[in-house]
C-alpha cells in the first residue's frame, strides 16, 4: 500500500502522544494554559495527521462524518445544558457553584463539563472542516 515507511512509522509513534497531550490540555485547562478549545484542535490534528498518511477512507471508517456531525451538536448542547442546569438549580446561567452542595466541587464539575463540551465541538468541527475540504463529505454531490 503506502510506500512512505518513515511517515507511517513516525505517524504511528506520534498520534498516541498527540492524543494523550490533547487529553492533558483538556483536563488540565483549569490550572494551566489550555482548555477545551486548544485540546479540541490538538485532537483533530491527530485525526487529520492519520488521514493524511493512511487515507481519508480509513479515517472515515473509524470516525464516520455522520457521527462527527452529531458530536458537534452534542458538544454545544452539553455546554448549554450545564448552563440551564445551573438556572434550574437556582443560580444564573452558567453559575456552577449551585450545581452541587459543595460549592468548590461544583465549580470544578461545572468547568470540566463545559470544557468537555467545548473540546468535543471544536474537535468535531475541525474534523468536519477537513472532511469538507477533502471533498468526500457527500459523494453523491461530487459532480455538482
Amino acid at each position: 500500500m503506502n510506500p512512505h515507511i518513515v511517515l507511517r512509522v513516525g505517524a504511528k509513534l506520534l498520534i498516541p502522544v498527540i492524543v494523550l497531550f490533547g487529553l492533558y490540555v483538556q483536563f488540565h485547562g483549569e490550572y494551566s494554559p489550555g482548555g477545551g478549545f486548544q485540546a479540541g484542535i490538538i485532537f483533530a490534528a491527530a485525526l487529520i495527521l492519520y488521514a493524511l498518511i493512511f487515507g481519508l477512507e480509513t479515517v472515515q471508517r473509524a470516525v464516520p462524518p455522520g457521527a462527527v456531525h452529531a458530536l458537534a451538536g452534542l458538544g454545544a448542547l452539553l455546554y448549554m445544558s450545564i448552563g440551564i442546569w445551573s438556572m434550574l438549580a437556582g443560580g444564573n446561567f452558567l453559575e456552577y457553584k449551585v450545581l452541587l452542595a459543595d460549592a468548590q466541587r461544583a465549580e470544578i464539575l461545572g468547568i470540566i463539563l463545559i470544557e468537555l463540551g467545548v473540546g468535543v465541538t471544536v474537535a468535531t468541527v475541525a474534523i468536519t472542516l477537513f472532511y469538507s475540504f477533502a471533498g468526500r463529505m457527500r459523494p453523491e454531490q461530487d459532480g455538482g
Binding site: H69, A70, M80, N92
Partner: protein
C-alpha cells in the same frame, strides 16, 4: 424565577435550539415547526422584557454569577428592548412565510441545516442587542455574520456564493476593526463592560489611543451597517440570498449594527466626545445624505426588483444615520422610529416580492408585467409597503420622515428638509416602476398563468403591510418607545 432569567432566555432559546435541529435533518417540516415555536417564544420573551424595562427601568443579568463589571453582563433598557422586539418580531412573522418559500429554494436535505443557521443568526443578532459587554458584542457579531454567510450562500443562483464571499471579506474586515477598537479601549481602561467603559473613558479621552479606538469602531461598525460608501457587499448579498433570508436580514441585520453604533457614540463615548470633541456630525451627515441620494438613484435603474429594494435599503440606512447625526432628541427619535418602521416596511416589501418569485420564479421587473391581475392581494401588499417606503401620510414611513423634517428644521438646516422631500420622490419613481409594470402592462406572450400566492405566504406579508399602516395612524407605541430611547441615549448610561 423565570422573570429573572428572561435576558438569558432571550439568547438561549434560539442558541439551544440550533444544534437540536442538526438531529432533524430527515424531518425538514419538524425542523421548521421547532424553529417557528422558538421564534415565537423569543418574541414573547422580548415583549415581556420591554414591558419590564418600561415599568421598572434597566435590567441587569450577571452570567455565571460574576457581578458586573467583572463578568459578562446582559443589560436591557428601553433602547435595546425596542431593538430586541424588532428582531424577534420579524423572525416570528417571517417563519410562517418561510415554510413554503424555503422548501422551494433550498434542497430538502439541507432545510434543517438552513434553519440551524437561521437560528444561529437570530441568536447572534439578539445577543448583540442584549449584551452589555464590548467583547461579547464582537463575538455575537461573528456568530450572526458567519451564520448569515451560510444562509446567503444557500441561494439558488450560483452567484449567491460570490455574494456571500464578498460579504464574508467585508464583514470580517468590519468585525476585525471593531475588535481592534475594543482592544484599544480595553488597553486604556482595563474594562470591557459598556457601562463601566462609559464611566472610565472621560479620564483618558484626550489620548490618541482612544481616538484611534473611536475611528476603528466607527469604520468597522459602519461596514456592517452598510453606510455609504461601505455598502458594496449589501446589494448582491440581498439579491442572491433565499427570499426568506433577504426578508430577515434586510429587516434586522443592519438595524442591529446601527444600534451598536448608537450605543458606542451616545452611551459609551458620550455625546460631547462623539459630536463635540470629534466632529462626527460633520462626517456622518454628508455620508448619510450621499447615502440617501446615490443608492436611491441607482435603485431606479435596476431591472431586478430584489436588487432595487436592496439599494433602497442602503438609502434607508442613510435616513437613519441622518437622524443619528443631528445628535438631538428629535433626530434620535427619528432614527429609532425608522429602525422600527423600515424593518416592518422593508420586510413587507421583500415578502410580497418573495411570494411573487415563488409563483413566477424570477424577481425581474419584466417578468412581473401584468402580474397584478393574477396576484391582486400580493401586489396590493407590495403597494402598501411601497407607500410606506415613500413616506405617504397615514403610513409608518411618513412618521419617520416627519420627525426627520422636524429635526432638520430644529437644527436650522432647511436645505435638508427640501432634500428629504426630493429623495422621497425618487422612492416614488422606483416603486412606481414596479407598480406600473404589474398593473398597467400586459402579461408577456407565452407566460405561464399564475395563481394568487398561498395564504401561508400572503398572511404574514399582509400582517406586516397592515402593521406599516397601523403604526402610521396609531403611533403611540413606536413614538413612545423612540422618545424614551432617545432620552436614554442622550443621557449616557444611567
Amino acid at each position: 424565577m423565570i422573570e429573572h432569567h428572561l435576558p438569558a432566555l432571550q439568547v438561549l432559546l434560539p442558541l439551544f435550539a440550533a444544534p437540536l435541529l442538526m438531529f432533524l435533518v430527515r424531518w425538514p417540516t419538524l425542523a421548521w415547526a421547532v424553529t417557528t415555536a422558538v421564534c415565537w417564544a423569543a418574541l414573547l420573551v422580548s415583549a415581556l422584557l420591554l414591558e419590564a424595562v418600561w415599568a421598572g427601568g434597566p435590567i441587569s443579568y450577571a452570567h455565571g454569577g460574576w457581578e458586573p463589571p467583572y463578568g459578562i453582563e446582559y443589560r436591557v433598557d428601553t433602547v435595546n428592548a425596542f431593538v430586541l422586539l424588532i428582531i424577534s418580531g420579524i423572525s416570528a412573522i417571517v417563519m410562517p412565510f418561510a415554510r413554503d418559500s424555503v422548501e422551494q429554494e433550498v434542497p430538502r436535505d439541507r432545510i434543517a441545516w438552513f434553519y440551524t443557521a437561521f437560528l444561529l443568526a437570530n441568536a447572534g443578532l439578539l445577543g448583540i442587542a442584549i449584551t452589555g459587554d464590548a467583547f461579547n458584542i464582537f463575538v455575537f457579531f461573528e456568530i450572526s455574520a458567519i451564520a448569515s454567510y451560510a444562509l446567503i450562500a444557500m441561494g439558488r443562483d450560483r452567484r449567491a456564493l460570490l455574494a456571500s464571499f464578498t460579504y464574508l471579506i467585508m464583514g470580517t474586515i468590519g468585525t476585525t476593526f471593531l475588535l481592534i477598537g475594543i482592544g484599544f479601549l480595553y488597553m486604556m481602561t482595563g474594562t470591557l463592560n459598556l457601562a463601566d467603559l462609559a464611566e472610565r473613558l472621560p479620564a483618558v479621552h484626550d489620548t490618541s489611543t482612544i481616538r484611534a479606538a473611536f475611528a476603528f469602531i466607527a469604520v468597522g461598525v459602519s461596514l456592517k451597517l452598510a453606510l455609504f460608501p461601505l455598502h458594496l457587499w449589501l446589494p448582491n448579498a440581498y439579491t442572491y440570498a433565499p427570499s426568506m433570508v433577504t426578508v430577515f436580514l434586510a429587516a434586522t441585520a443592519t438595524k442591529v449594527a446601527i444600534y451598536v453604533l448608537l450605543r458606542f457614540f451616545y452611551s459609551v463615548f458620550g455625546v460631547e466626545f462623539s459630536f463635540g470633541v470629534l466632529p462626527m456630525g460633520y462626517v456622518l451627515m454628508p455620508l448619510a445624505l450621499l447615502g440617501i441620494l446615490i443608492p436611491s438613484i441607482v435603485a431606479t435603474f435596476q431591472a431586478d426588483v430584489k436588487r432595487m429594494l436592496a439599494y433602497s435599503s442602503v438609502a434607508q440606512v442613510g435616513y437613519i444615520i441622518l437622524g443619528f447625526s443631528f445628535a438631538s432628541t428629535l433626530g434620535l427619535m427619528a432614527a429609532m422610529l425608522h429602525l422600527f418602521n423600515h424593518a416592518i416596511t422593508k420586510a413587507a416589501l421583500f415578502m410580497a416580492l418573495g411570494a411573487i418569485v415563488y409563483r413566477i420564479g424570477s424577481p425581474r421587473i419584466d417578468a412581473m408585467a401584468g402580474i397584478a391581475r393574477d396576484m391582486p392581494w400580493t401586489m396590493a401588499a407590495f403597494v402598501v409597503g411601497g407607500l410606506s417606503l415613500i413616506g405617504v401620510p397615514l403610513t409608518a414611513g411618513f412618521i419617520t420622515k416627519w420627525h426627520l423634517l422636524l429635526a432638520a428644521l430644529e437644527a436650522g438646516l432647511w436645505p435638508i428638509a427640501v432634500f428629504l422631500l426630493a429623495t422621497s420622490l425618487i422612492a416614488l419613481i422606483y416603486i412606481g416602476r414596479v407598480v406600473e409594470a404589474a398593473y398597467f402592462r400586459e402579461r408577456p406572450a407565452g407566460a405561464v398563468p399564475v395563481r394568487e400566492a398561498h395564504p401561508a405566504l400572503l398572511l404574514p406579508t399582509w400582517a406586516l403591510a397592515l402593521a406599516s399602516v397601523v403604526f402610521g395612524i396609531h403611533t403611540a407605541l413606536p413614538i413612545g418607545a423612540a422618545a424614551r430611547a432617545a432620552e436614554l441615549l442622550l443621557g449616557g448610561y444611567p
